[in-house]
Symmetry: C2
Subunit: 340 residues, 2 copies
């Protein structure tokens, strides 16, 4: 537990910018008395959007004159926009003025700038993106979700160690289980890199349960699923597409004719908890782990509820000293490996 928690928000990022970030920020301030926020972006616009709330002791505004566009090349955003709201928010973390930052901006740019400004922690070659997905029992954290397309076995092992410690810290589980994503066909049982990664992870003194398959992500029987960013991203996007299709087919079923509509009205409250359970807004907020600072990525089209959830993820990481704990764990595991 820390007693202060300052979070910098990239107000200009995402599809909706201030229209979503500012209401979400105000919601968080109301709910979490220990949180202060630095709103980064066009000062006049922010001040205007805040209205009376601008007077709050727990809100600071930091002007930034530029904005990273959603489809801008990361290298261009990194080199060409030193005063973007995204860059300034990350700089605030680097300087120690903020404990964490949250952005709904372009993932590639966020990763590139965060890596450049904050650097990776010792023992970690590449940061990874981790996020929870709903499972039949609780939820499952999956990494990497798209930061790294070509991973070595060593990278996968680093991801496993970071995911393990992040979930330990956030969820208070003594020893969460870690699975390595693989495919089950006998003759092929994984490619070479996955086989080597399994050996490395087994040596890392974490609760490694071995290979898991795609369907295990949704059972909740494993806490952390490790894979490379290409596969993780495909699994995530495929899931999004399938969930969308299923919900749309259900909606169609309940609107096919007047009788179906009536049944749909009755079913709506019954299905409400189910909708809540799989509502992606409640899972918004992916963490960039492996950096020397806490950076949380919100979905680009997040609404107020979803963006507030991403801020909450950052708050929890600060509260549970995730950064410090991952650093210690990585140092311990990889020092032990080197001396072994």
């Amino acid at each position: 537990m820390t007693d202060r928690c300052v979070i910098a928000l990239d107000v200009m990022g995402g599809d909706h910018g201030a229209a979503v970030v500012i209401p979400a920020a105000l919601d968080v301030l109301q709910r979490s008395p220990e949180v202060s926020l630095i709103l980064v972006g066009d000062e006049a616009m922010i001040r205007n959007a805040l209205g009376e709330a601008a007077a709050s002791q727990r809100i600071a505004i930091r002007h930034a004159s530029e904005k990273v566009e959603m489809h801008e090349a990361p290298s261009k955003a990194l080199r060409g926009k030193k005063d973007s709201s995204m860059r300034v928010a990350i700089d605030l973390v680097k300087e120690g003025a903020a404990d964490a930052c949250v952005s709904a901006g372009n993932t590639g740019a966020l990763m590139a700038i965060a890596k450049f400004v904050l650097k990776t922690i010792p023992g970690i070659d590449r940061p990874a993106i981790i996020a929870p997905v709903p499972a039949l029992k609780g939820h499952t954290h999956v990494l990497d979700l798209g930061a790294n397309v070509d991973c070595t076995a060593e990278h996968l092992c680093q991801f496993a160690v970071m995911g393990y410690e992040l979930v330990r810290a956030l969820e208070g589980k003594e020893s969460p289980s870690v699975g390595l994503l693989n495919i089950g066909e006998e003759e092929i049982k994984g490619n070479e890199q996955v086989k080597r990664a399994a050996k490395l992870i087994a040596d890392s003194h974490i609760n490694f349960i071995g290979y898991v398959e795609g369907n295990d992500i949704y059972t909740g029987d494993v806490d952390i699923v490790v894979t490379d960013g290409f596969v993780g991203n495909v699994a995530l996007k495929t899931s999004e597409g399938l969930a969308k299709m299923i919900l749309q087919l259900i909606r169609q079923s309940f609107t096919r004719n007047p009788l179906a509509k009536l049944v749909g009205l009755l079913a709506r409250p019954v299905l409400q908890p189910f909708r809540e359970r799989i509502d992606p807004r409640h899972y918004n907020g992916a963490s960039l782990v492996g950096l020397r600072g806490i950076v949380v990525k919100s979905h680009g089209n997040a609404d107020r509820i979803a963006f507030a959830k991403a801020i909450e993820t950052a708050r929890q990481e600060v509260e549970h000293a995730v950064l410090h704990r991952i650093g210690e764990r990585v140092a311990e595991v990889f020092a032990a490996k080197e001396s072994a």
Copy 2:
């Protein structure tokens, strides 16, 4: 259109063997008058299970003394069980006694034996596994679903050409669209092998629409999605896990209390078409493409309806001369490439 269609069935394969294969076989014979079946397995058992149906002119029984176990190593099945029902069914295709074979047995063994016995067609290095999945509009064919974990760009291009021609033949579409599975992050836009594959496929004179992402599998906006077997298998299994979770959560919602149960009873018939639409039994039957023979793999735990669907897939491939058409297309594309 061919006027005869003989399909060999591996009666011993799958979780249920004859208990599923024989009723499914009888269903198919009733529905499809041009089909004859060769039932391969323990002759006495099959004769017994068939009862009076054994007298049908359209049923032949071929004894096989061994059985490939579901978790048997493919190499062991290939070398050690020359008289397995799976092997004999594939041998029948090789000899020309059958036009196609269907097995619910171990995928790895089926692929290994089929490759060894039938060989690949000229221009194809490796066979792939292709199957349809339901989409919001119609369905989408995805390959490779797990036969090849480490694919080169050339392999992906071969998969694209085979998938294109298979869907053209089966669905009668003049020019179905082919997408290459990738991830959308700007900085990383695919790994090297995917980028190279995109160039090769673009040169293949098929309707290549470029990169697609995981969610596009379920929109139905693309007819064929090409990826390597590791990613394809993860996407498939992840989808299975998610669909299972969603259906279970819906079931839980409708059993939470007496009122919910009542609404559930009313909703059941309304949701029936939705259930049908995503029922995996209707999508059972993955094709091993790239071989000099038609081999269809049924899900191991397929029931009677699902296994009949797999036989139907084989029947359609025979009817539409898929093998011949893929061979011609591959020869054409890759000959053109060599001379270019």
